[in-house]
Symmetry: C2
Subunit: 286 residues, 2 copies
């Protein structure tokens, strides 16, 4: 069943957000729509039940949601997920007043995790096996937050010049802060799995074409959990040794941000909680 064949207010709101997203990104129109989506998904989740899932990750507890007991959602980190509307209200208020950086890093991380997962979990229950819709939603949300914070709209392709040709290379979000300021390369992935090497490869191209240091790479992810649906066990899949090799031999990303920071990536100095972005090196950007 295709997305547009499903009648559900969450899907309708998601579609509204997608219409002209390139022109509303970074504006109050988009902020209001994200808030509407949140309220709709939060209302939807209040009608679901919790399902116990067994976390095999030390010091982390997860729950899933279900409507009928059969289809269960992706797991949610209980410690980070907050369904308190006051927190979400405050977050959207601060986004609209363009002062998100006045919120604590952990407050931002919790709040954006809750907004994101509320949508992802709802889609898990409305439309089985749809990975694309949650991914697109998270990408738009991160793009919007960066756009509000930096005060500019992103582009999604850049011109690559060489001696005898010029062409456009499709990219993830690029935020160009102007002359003598860094440009930000902002890929967004729900989780990284085996395909993340692409992000380092794109950074390498940007470094090669424009010179190392011209583009700062900030990869954003939700988490690395994997739910075994039959056993109802949650694990995290992390490859810190490989990431170290990518950092040394392909290109150097400035930071990788996570909403639900995987335990084994805490040892990597370039991996941080999502909220940290709004507090680090801000003098570089603004």
């Amino acid at each position: 069943m295709k997305l547009k064949e499903i009648n559900h207010p969450i899907i309708d709101l998601y579609e509204s957000l997608g219409k002209n997203f390139d022109s509303i990104i970074g504006t109050d129109v988009a902020t209001d729509l994200f808030f509407e989506v949140y309220k709709e998904t939060s209302g939807f989740l209040s009608k679901t039940s919790n399902v116990k899932v067994r976390s095999l990750i030390p010091e982390k507890r997860y729950i899933s949601f279900t409507l009928d007991g059969r289809i269960i959602s992706r797991p949610i980190n209980e410690e980070i997920f907050k369904s308190d509307l006051k927190i979400i209200n405050k977050t959207f208020k601060y986004i609209k007043e363009n002062k998100i950086q006045e919120l604590d890093s952990s407050f931002i991380t919790q709040s954006i995790y809750s907004i994101t997962m509320s949508f992802c979990v709802s889609i898990d229950l409305i439309k089985k096996n749809d990975q694309k819709t949650p991914g697109t939603y998270f990408e738009r949300l991160v793009g919007h937050l960066f756009s509000v914070f930096l005060g500019i709209k992103p582009i999604k392709e850049i011109e690559v010049l060489s001696l005898d040709s010029k062409m456009k290379l499709p990219t993830d979000f690029i935020f160009d802060l102007g002359k003598n300021k860094p440009k930000l390369h902002v890929p967004v992935k729900t989780s990284t799995r085996e395909r993340v090497i692409q992000v380092w490869a794109h950074q390498r191209i940007l470094d090669g074409v424009f010179g190392v240091g011209t583009f700062l790479g900030f990869l954003n992810c939700i988490g690395e959990t994997k739910l075994d649906h039959s056993k109802r066990e949650v694990i995290e899949i992390c490859l810190p040794d490989q990431w170290n090799i990518y950092q040394r031999f392909i290109a150097r990303l400035s930071k990788v941000y996570y909403l639900d920071l995987p335990r084994r990536y805490k040892e990597l100095e370039f991996v941080k909680p999502f909220g940290d972005f709004f507090h680090e090196n801000t003098e570089l950007f603004i």
Copy 2:
């Protein structure tokens, strides 16, 4: 339905090949099994009917196969695909006598295309939407041919050393020809689509860790056709400009070989028909 739940002689032979493949690769046991698979798929295809598909690629004609008129296979290039058992017999004979390089490049390309596609098309009709089995089969076939030709078995991970740690990096096939000889980095993909940047990124790591020129990269693909099942139209998806950027700014692959060379990749000097591998620079390897 899982593969092992399907009872079919083609699947049984495929499973036999997979059992201990690492130890039989490059040996007559594997050559014989590939021949058995071919004969079984060829017999199977003789019971199917052709379906006309419209090629939108200039100078290329394609057909598909069907059992029931509803499920149709991936498209086959009519000019390259040969179902003449004499050709295939000769090819397997030359493989066993380790003199594949005595066959013309175009003979090798046609024959290996026919062996590969005979399997892929059979799987399309036996098991809908299975991309993995044809991909694994093609990877094993290419690995086997390289192994016979080079006279060594490949490895699939290499040790990466740095000042304070050592680790194994999983890779595609690596053929190590010994001291003062190049090492071959041999990725195999049915088609490349958007994920191929990984291949250049892996080459970059090998160049970075071991020095440029230590590993020669030879990417092997079937083709880049895409069938629109409702319109029954065949197109080719190629991104030559992006490949040029990858070659210049990520790493340099020695060659990309195709069984069904895409029209728009003919302009790239590093893209060649598959059979060329067995005729180019052989003094380097043996």
